[in-house]
Amino acid sequence: MDLSYGEAAEAFRKDVRGFVESHWQPGERRGAELKEFVRAFRRAAIDRGYLYRSIPKQYGGSEQPADVIRAQVIREEFGRARAPMEVGGNGVNMTVPTLLEQGTEEQKELFIRKTIEGDYIWGQGYSEPGSGSDLASVRTKGELSPDGSKWIINGQKIWTSQGMQATHMFMLVRTEPDAPKHDGITYLLLDLNQPGITRRPIRQMTGEEGAHTFCEFFFDNAETPVGWQVGERGKGWYVSRTTLKHERASIGSADGLGSQFKKLVDLAKEMSRLDDPLVRDRLAEIEGRVLSHRYSSFRLFSCAAAGEDPGAVQLMMKLLLTEIGHEIALLAQDLIGDQGLIEPEGAGGRGPRGPRGPNKWLDQIMGSLGNSIAGGASNIQRNIIAERGLGLPRDGSV
C-alpha cells in the first residue's frame, strides 16, 4: 500500500497550483463583479482541463480522459485556495450525466452548457406526497396534447432542493396509467417559469425555510414539448436509475467528515470537557468509525484508479456517514449542555447570522437527521446492502 499519489501526479499538482495562484485573485470584488470574476475563472479552468472533465468540449466541458488521481489533485488544490469548483447542485450532478447517457442531441445542445455555466438550475421532481421510498408509485399525470406536440402535466411534487431558485425540473410522471407500476412512467424535462406551476417552500424541523430550502410544486396543466422527453415513453423509471446512480456517486465526503470531527474535538475543548475520560472515550470511539470511513474512501478511490470493483463496501458509505453523523450529534448535544436551550441567532436561515457560540451545533444535531432520509433513506440503504451486497433474497413487494 502506498498513499502517495506518485511523481506524475505531484508534477500535475504543481501546474494546478500555479494556475490557481495566478488566476484566483478575487480581491475585494463583491456582488455582480465577483460573479463575473468567478465565471471567467471557471472558463479559464475549463480551458486548462480542470473542470467538467467528463463533459465533451462541444457542450462546454473540457473532455479529459478519466483519471481519478488528477481529479483528486484538482479538488485538493482548488479546495486549498478556496477557489470555486464546478457549479454544484442537481443540474451538474444529475441532469448532465443523465443527458450525456440518454439525452437526444438537441437536449444536450439545449441544456448542458447553460447548466454547467450556472444559468439553469435544476430541481428534482421525483418524490410526491404519496411516493417517498416507493418512488415508482408516482401519480403526477402526463397526457399528450391533442396534436401530440406537448405533454400536459397535472399533480404534485415535493422535497425539491433549491426549489425556489430552480429554473427547470427533471421529473417522473405517469403517462400509461394501465401499465405495470414501473413501466408506466416517463422522464420529462420542464421549464418552471410558466403559468400552471405554483411553488411553496417547506418549513423544516430546523426552522429553516425560504430561498434555499425544500419546496413543493403544484402542476395545473403545466406544459412541456415532447422533444423534452428523455428516453422512451414509459421507460422513465429506467432513465431515473441512471440519475440516482449519479446522485449516489456524488454524496459522501471523507474530508468533510474529518473536519467535522475535528470541530467536535474543538467543541469538547471549548466546553472544558476534553479532560473528561468519558468524553475522551466517546471521541475515540467515534473516531474509529470516522477513520474507517476515511480509509474506506481511500480504498474506493484506489479501486477506481485501478479500474477494479471495490465490492460491497461502496454500498455502505452513505449509511456509514449517516450513522457517524448521528453519533457526532449525540455527543455534541451532551457537550453543549444547556447552551443548546437557546437557538443561535440567524438559525435556519432566518435573517443575518448573529454571534454564534457552541449552540451553532444545533444545526448539525438536527440536520444529521435529514441525512437518514435524503438520497435514499437509511432503511432503504440497509435493504440495498442486504440484497445487493450480501445476496439476501429480495422482498417480494419491492
Binding site: E285, S296, D395
Partner: protein
Amino acid sequence: MRFHLTSEQVAIQDAVRGTLSECWGMEQLHRFADGEADFDPASWKALMALGVGGLALPEADGGAGLGLLDAALVCEVAGAAAAPGPLIGQIVGAIAVAACANSATRELLTAIASGERVVTLALDGDLVQSAHAADYYLADDGAGGLHLIEAGDGVTIESVTATDRSRPVSRVSFGTVEAHPLFTAGDPMVQRLRDAALVLIAADALGGAQHCTDLSVEYAKTREQFGQPIGKFQGLKHQLAQMALEVEPARALVWYAAYAWDAGLPDATRAAAMAKAHLCEIYTRTTRAAIAAHGGIGYTWEYGLNYWFRRSVQNRAWLGSPAQHRARAAKLAGW
C-alpha cells in the same frame, strides 16, 4: 497511490485459507476444544510450510521480504478459521529476533522463521497461549525491557480451563530462567513490537467478525420459517446489513494500521491502538449478533459459533481492553 490488496496479497490469503480448510475444519476444532493439548502440530506445520512465520522478515534473514500488512492478512484468515497456535507470537517473535543484534538470538532466527521453534507472547500478565508447546517466550520484564526466555527450568506452567478453546492459555510464571535480552526499556523497538501485536490481533478480530457475518448470512438464506427463507424478513435483513456495515469498512482501518507500521509513519502507534480497540469492539458485537441471528442453533456447542465468541473474549482482553487503547489514542492525539 494504492490502497487495496494486490493480486499477490489475495493469493497469500487464498493459500492460507486453502491450507486451513484441509487441516482445520469444525471436526478438528471440536476435538481440540475438548482435548487437553494447547497446540496442534499438524495445522502448525501446514501453516508454517507456507512461510507465514517469516513473512514479514527481510529476505536476508530467511523471510519473504513482505510486511506487517501481509502478516495481518494471514492473521485475518487464521481468525476466520479460528486456527490454533500462537501465530501472532511467532510473527512478532520473528520480527523481534530479526531486529536485535544479539548474536545468541540471531542464531535462532532460521528455526523461528520456519516455525520449527515455537514462540509465544508473555507480555502484560501471566496468561500465555500454547505455553506447554512453546520453545520461547517473548516476555517483558516489568520494567520496559523485552527478553526471549527459553522453555525449561525456571518456567512454571499451570494449566487452566481456557475460555478461548481455539488458542488455550495457561498460567505461566518465570523463576530463575535463561533469558536473552532483546531490547532494553526505552528502545523504540519495544513499542514497535507491541504495535505489531496489536495490529495482528485486530486482523484476527476482523477475520473472526467477517466469518460470523458470513455464517449468519448463509444461514439466513437457507433456514426457512413461515414458508420462506428467514433472510427475506426485513428485521433480520437489517440486522445482517448492520453487521456487514460494521465489519467491512473497518477492514481499511486494519490495512491502514499495518501500512503505517510498515512505512514507519508518525501515527503508526496511534493507528495500532485505534485498530485494536475498534476491531475488538466489533468482534464482540458481531459474535453476539451472529448468535442472535441464528437462534437456538447458534446457542449450541455443536454448531460452533461459540468458538468465535470465545476467541473474541481473548482478543478483546489481550494486551489491553478497547477502552484502554482508546484512552491511549486520545493521549497520543494530544487531546
